[in-house]
Symmetry: C3
């Protein structure tokens, strides 16, 4: 195994020397642009309170399901990585032993996107110089721990060092957004932290907490109205609250992108049946499809960009879910289709002024078949950046290859890191910029785009697109 | 933005210098071969009467849904590009203002297949030298307009200059084919213009004009027979009429490739129910599937090559359809599968002598999974060239990569431009030839095919395949 | 056509000179490693009895459905290649005339995987120097025939020359495995030939011989128990018998990967209904899904690696099946999905110690969408190598590109040749090694994996992975 962890300046760029030269110059054009992160899962309180990061394992291993899942696949039980579900016990987990498991498992990450992000962090953020390995586990643990105790490694300083301009969080509709308010009132902090309205647990009847959530929602924001009418009013009110606190988008993690327009009477009946606990699976699908339609209607009204993340079968392995809870590495994609599913929504709102609908997918087959054709006609539809398992160098190139010939460059959202791993943000954006440079460099080398124009396009996709699409 | 619009001699060829050299020599081998266009949508009357092309916008923008859709996606209303549905008003559209919209939107087309075809036309056909832009809109409008008034820019002269040998049109089953007859009787015209039998509007019960169409069909060609028997007889007669006028193929634009063999009694009952307006969606699917089977049976009898274009959800956005009619940019693909759907047809006709069935798709997933395996066994089945959104450089390379390892080169149809944009025909065929050269050059560079053999293969796929598959 | 059949030392390696150099050195690292073939269809008796291979056509053409299907697609009737179904007549087929058909059809194989394997055999195994062609058909027939009469071309000598260490066969659950026993008792033979338990014809109620098979199974191995209980006991017993004879895996060629856990009572009722011949299609699906679950349970118990090959529509063309039987080139893939289908099995056994489940597919869409995410979490799940139509250079590269970024290199099975064509084994493994070298070389050239680490990884994927995954 190589002993050095150096990140090569040409990493991820194409091998052909001529194309690589073009890519280098394109990359240089955008390498120092600020990071715009319009969708992710960092906790605003961490920035607000400038909470120091914990130890290396709690920062880089345990909360990152990309990392724990692959170590788990090699036969390491999750409780060696996460601790059991109870928070107290999880905290008590021996961090150094988790780190050793990780270092031992490090060779598994060769060729993966996660491995790439981690390696870049080790080198660029934590200044490590030797390859991660079982032998050097204690040394790397100590080195990172030492860095984490330095004042320069507090979230606010890193935010600045990472050159982040905008960072979106993802929030419960009833969240008070106090951290967001405090940050934006703080004259000493120059970044922009915006909340995102994420109502899944209030829309999906099958969610175990749905009815209790709806109780709270109507109670807190229904203005005294009750039933379905109070429910809609409360959702509208909370969206407005989010807008007032700087939100630019509402995010929807649905099983399928199905939409349907029910009349208010039908919808109210479904809602009442659900509240009484007497719904069929068909009812639940209808209601969820209807509420997705309603969310689009509200976005047309209040201007929140609508982002859609469908097609993940959540918590595939029930025993793991029971022991460790959600987001523990066993959400597995399924096939999706958008053309017929989104038609009711697009018929009514597809050409609505200033409506933005960003479509993500874990099913690559829809890139050329459905998403590029939809985004190449409807002014509201944008192509979400390759997401989750597809946020990886080759997958990003496949995405560009699949969509560009139909939809060009103007219809995509720009990069979205979607991460809860704060320290990985620069590595992820850097990877994306390298891949954009690589793709454009190939088009230049093949005389399909002029080099001058490619220099404009890379600025557009890296910097202008996320501002434009997310109304930043 | 680059100020020159020059088309580089190596455009679309691979970046690796060694592979590019091989590709250049392969391209040279076929660059001057005549164009065979066995499927498309040019109007035969335009050639027959040598009708001068109208202004630049009416020639290059308004009728081309590849172009208008992408401009529409940027927020330009379609009536700025098309004019409303009424023909008179559409004609009254200010052509110069449409052209300005197009020129302003031109950067959207970077990296797209349409942009490539347009750029090639601007340079190679119209002799433009400066990049299209809002600033130069009037100048390019005037330059193209001036060209269009020259005698050398009349359709017949361009047909000759474009080196077109065969051009297929697409025609209504009741079309009199007078233009085709006139052309073939004209000793001064040396090209071959062949009609194509396209019966969708007579087979699809859900088509709004179906019953009226069937009335006319039986009335004109049923030889006095009525009902289902008269319907079949009339279809057979009209196919024969097309054969007599030089047709070589019948084309089917269906929602799915489902086929079923009903007995005549069942089929007649379905037909009668449909004529009385009392069918269920299931009936309609059964009838369409049965008629696709019947079309294959007739192709086995009369020798017309059967081409199948399934998987497009037509007129996705109802308000746009209501305002502007069909073919206005919002036909969106859906997933399709062929293996089970085509089985009834292939069981009975898959090995029928001289039956040719050319399968197209907008769903790339079937290239390696279904189409190559089917075409690599059934002597009747041919792989249609990448179609519509997939008629683009990277998509064509993905097609070749997906099918060749299973089915070789002998089972594909050769390039089909499928266009109503006459002036784009050379650019489209040129792009296809460059991609064939690129793909073969890679196989040569990887020592998978010898260079001598590649020179034979490129002639085969460019020239011999369409002649062989379409019986030209 | 090129007159020489020489196999270039750089064949299948990437064209870019820098990347090719890296690939060469990676290939060199593994080129001489022994062949591990953990799944295939060679007949053990051929090795045991060292049966001389028959003539060239009977060795290389008639039994190879990759070859006969493509010749058939060009219009050659299968009886010119196979003879009719009756064995006696098949034997009487004029071998030289089949060979001539093949040689005439040889250009069809340009660019195909089969063509590559054949060419490599002609050159490396049979020492041919001139290109195959109609003109040289008799000469190549005579040259290969002469070789086949040499003692050095008997199976045991070739086994040694091919450097095969392990070869798995595929066997009926009631096979006596006498050849396997004889081989392993033979001190003069140093290879390892292991049987594979393949129970499809005993699990799939729709199989024409199912009930008779079950009679025999229970009779021979049910230990006197009858009905469903006897059936399960017999399956367990026969699996144990296979384990005792060296088997390491059980293989399942199912239509879909659906699994379900029925309680024993329900399962017994379904079994009884099936035995009495009164099942619905729904019953049959339930039973097959349940038995797949049971097979996993038994694998957890007895340690046999479970391999799953779903998604082929067998015997698509009924007239060909009637005339020539199964495995005659018209098995056509269909879309499959694993995420929901395998959930019942994976819930219960996905993390069972030492359980190995190797998932194959003919539907590439599941590589990035489902298989890599599953294998990147479940310790039991391994990515089967690209199979059948996907066992081809470009398809293998697409596989690696689709799965590696999510699952790394540790979760794949290593190469599986799945062949009944004994003499093609070295060519197939060689192709796979070249592609692994090519893929890794690109990652090295793009600075994503260090060259040192790539040298370790290629040994792992070529040699260690199949030993580890198949418990060899």
């Amino acid at each position: 195994m190589s002993q050095s962890i150096a990140a090569h300046p040409d990493r991820l760029l194409p091998a052909d020397p001529g194309t690589r030269n073009i890519a280098r110059s394109l990359l240089e054009r955008v390498q120092d642009l600020p990071i715009i992160s319009p969708h992710g899962h960092v906790d605003a309180a961490v920035i607000e309170q400038d909470i120091p990061f914990p130890d290396p394992a709690a920062l880089l291993v345990s909360p990152d399901h990309y990392v724990t899942r692959l170590i788990h696949s090699s036969g390491v039980p999750l409780d060696s990585l996460l601790g059991p579900l109870e928070a107290a016990q999880r905290a008590a987990q021996d961090s150094r032993s988790v780190w050793r498991e990780f270092c031992t498992a490090w060779p598994l990450f060769e060729g993966t996107a996660s491995g790439y992000w981690l390696r870049t962090q080790f080198h660029d953020v934590f200044g490590l110089e030797r390859e991660i390995s079982a032998e050097t586990a204690d040394a790397s643990y100590d080195a990172i721990s030492a860095k984490l105790r330095e004042p320069g490694f507090r979230p606010r300083q890193l935010f600045k060092d990472f050159n982040i301009e905008v960072l979106a969080t993802t929030d419960d509709p009833l969240a008070d957004l106090a951290s967001h308010a405090a940050i934006s009132a703080d004259p000493t902090f120059h970044g922009r932290i915006v909340p995102t309205f994420r109502p899944d647990a209030y829309l999906n009847i099958a969610h175990p907490g749905w009815s209790a959530n709806v109780d709270r929602l109507i109670g807190e924001a229904g203005e005294g109205a009750c039933g379905y009418a109070g429910y809609l009013r409360a959702l509208e009110n909370r969206r407005r609250y989010f807008v007032q606190h700087g939100a630019v988008s509402a995010d929807h993690g649905v099983r399928t992108p199905s939409t349907v327009k029910l009349d208010a009477g039908e919808a109210a009946k479904l809602f009442d049946r659900a509240r009484s606990g007497h719904t069929t699976p068909g009812d639940r699908e209808q209601f969820e499809a209807h509420m997705l339609y309603e969310m689009a209607r509200m976005s047309v009204d209040d201007g929140l960009v609508m982002t859609l993340h469908p097609g993940s079968f959540r918590n595939h392995h029930a025993p793991t879910f029971a022991a460790f809870g959600p987001d523990t590495g066993h959400d597995i994609p399924v096939a999706v289709s958008y053309t017929e599913a989104l038609r009711p929504l697009l018929q009514d709102f597809g050409t609505a002024p200033d409506f933005h609908l960003v479509l993500f997918t874990l099913d690559e087959t829809v890139f050329s078949r459905e998403l590029a054709p939809l985004a190449g006609f409807y002014p509201s539809v944008y192509l979400g950046a390759p997401w989750w398992f597809l946020d990886a160098p080759d997958a990003m190139l496949r995405f560009r290859s699949a969509v560009t010939e139909t939809a060009g460059f103007s219809r995509s959202s720009g990069f979205i890191d979607d991460t809860r791993a704060f320290c990985s943000i620069p590595a992820r954006h850097d990877a994306s910029r390298r891949i954009e440079a690589s793709f454009l460099a190939r088009l230049v080398a093949e005389h399909r785009v002029s080099e001058d124009r490619a220099h404009e396009l890379i600025v557009d996709v890296v910097d202008s697109a996320p501002r434009r699409v997310f109304k930043l």
